[in-house]
Symmetry: C2
Subunit: 346 residues, 2 copies
């Protein structure tokens, strides 16, 4: 399999290296042929090519079987009025690959649950998956700017809503058979369309319960009763906010993986944390979010279920051992934790 | 002073009655002349007039010195595709009055802090105020809907941003002199405009520190370090989500007041909780959010600072006494808690 690696900015290269090391080890142990090619994205690509998603990267992405991404962005390129910005590389990649479903599992690990800002009785039993629509909505609508005002258009088609909602129902079938669709149907026309499509698709899945939540209520319920949710599906902007809010429940951003899938080509796998420029290059970053993203890559893009399970078990084992980076209250380096995972993968 | 009372739906009438009782008592004690007139809004107004903000209510709102609102909405009128919906009354009222700044203070009361889903060490010292832009953005932009798609336009003018940001800076001057402006400037054109206006206005307040936060980061920081914030200002949709998220920190929605101000006419004061139709008519609702909203009304619309302080002290006293409604773990009725506040106001 052709795996494209996009190290990106800040701690991106360090954590991407960890993910690659684990994938190499899995290839060796199970006798797979993985080839890795590194390409530029984000600030790094702006510095080297003047373009956050240069043609060479685009070409590689379209030919890939799977994509592993580190992180993108940093203060160096963060002027919102700059002509080119790192995150444009991310958005262009999502559109190019058509990865309309961003999948973020949220589970609490017993070892890290204590780090959650929420009381333990609130987070007990939390095991949910967010499906965030990733290639539509206000992110990609028409934009205008004049001296006196600015506009952003949020647009959704029936087709865009249907495919991502369907993704959520299919996933729910393999889990607790419950979908929560989040919108703002009391105010937005796109949300009323969203709700009607979700309802229609839901009727095709009589075995799965569908509930609708308003985005403001959902922002509360994620904190008051997160264990009540199974699969949560929502549009791009709401998903951006709610998935980040929810990620805090886990106690550390450093552990959480994500997958962006659904396109005709490769899926993109990346940790949910950012580029953390303040700790870049110091081997302080937690590699486990990327390593768990690599596990998702094995399972979802390569169909290697056993291999994915081996990686996930190795991560569990390392956490049990208390081999922890600074964000989890430990002192282990990125390399040491990665080494421990490699050892546990044997 | 002419006070318009909008009881609305669900528990709205019960809590509005509590607010009015406290205002009457204050008028008597301090020798003020308050006249109260009740008008229809929301579902109640749909039932009686076929219009969630009928002309009689509009007229009264425009002539009022201050407005006290209970709550609006309920499952009875909640079909998102219905022609008239209760929340249209709210939105029309905001626009009619031009109340562009929704003010939500968030403070933890020692008595209720234990009910917060957050660990006590996280919420210690939390004392912040949200300023949410309330009459612009995607709420009021052009909307379209066809068989195949839907759109909502988010639009902001320099003027709309400037006045609400200025409101935040003025408030910050009376507090800890820190403004956090929340946007999504890495994606939205309206947010880039927002950020540039906030920066320009901020330069006029050299004594107040200004920081910018992306909305997704803010959703995390509200949970990981809420005590670091003082005044937070943001646009309408982000404010809807973030204020509801933040309100959970307080441990109970029942205690939190809000004010919608900034227009040429009267301000609107209302508890942040909803209409809670499941407990309507049972005297189970917590009246304190409305009573504290009445205190904000006294202070901000009528300039009665001492009177507001008396009400707030009375609420504190009642909480200390442990005179609590069900949402706070007690068994007292709405009327009993209101009575206790009235007694403490003497
Ligand atoms: C960097 C930014 C454009 C991006 C987004 O908003 O989608 C990020 O926050 C994310 O969630 O992946
Ligand atoms: C009812 C709804 C239209 C309203 C809003 O979104 O503004 C409510 O959620 C609020 O925050 O006051």
């Amino acid at each position: 399999a052709q795996i494209v690696v996009l190290p990106g900015d800040g701690i991106g290269p360090e954590v991407a290296a960890a993910g690659v090391a684990v994938l190499r080890q899995i290839a060796e142990r199970f006798g797979h042929q993985f080839t890795f090619s590194e390409h530029a994205i984000g600030g790094d690509a702006i510095d080297r090519f003047g373009d956050p998603l240069p043609p060479s990267t685009r070409e590689a992405l379209l030919a890939a079987d799977a994509i592993l991404l580190g992180a993108v962005g940093g203060p160096k390129w963060s002027d919102p009025n700059a002509k080119v910005r790192p995150e444009q590389g991310l958005l262009a990649m999502r559109k190019l690959l058509g990865v309309f479903a961003n999948v973020r599992p949220l589970k609490l690990h017993p070892r890290t649950a204590a780090l959650s800002p929420l009381k333990p009785e609130r987070t007990q039993g939390v095991d949910l998956v967010f499906i965030r629509e990733l290639t539509g909505g206000i992110y990609f609508g028409a934009k205008t700017r004049s001296d006196t005002d600015a506009t952003d258009e949020c647009r959704y088609s029936v087709e865009e809503i249907e495919r991502v909602v369907r993704h959520a129902f299919e996933l729910a079938r393999t889990r607790k058979k419950k979908v929560t669709s989040v919108d703002k149907a009391n105010v937005l026309e796109t949300s009323r369309l969203w709700r009607s499509v979700a309802t229609r698709v839901g009727a095709e899945y009589p075995d799965v319960a569908l509930e609708h939540q308003l985005v403001d209520s959902m922002a509360m319920h994620l904190l008051t009763r997160p264990a009540d949710y199974d699969v949560i599906v929502t549009e791009n902007m709401f998903g951006d906010i709610l998935t980040d809010e929810a990620s805090v429940l886990a106690g550390s951003l450093g552990l959480s993986p994500s997958a962006s899938v659904g396109g005709p080509g490769a899926g993109v796998y990346e940790p949910i944390h950012g580029s953390a420029p303040d700790i870049a290059g110091q081997q302080l970053a937690n590699p486990l979010g990327t390593i768990l993203s690599a596990a998702m890559l094995l399972r979802h893009s390569l169909g290697l279920t056993d291999e994915a399970a081996v990686v996930e078990a190795a991560v569990d084992h390392v956490l049990e051992q208390g081999n922890l980076t600074r964000d989890l209250g430990g002192t282990a380096t990125t390399q040491a934790v990665t080494r421990a995972v490699l050892d546990a993968c044997h």
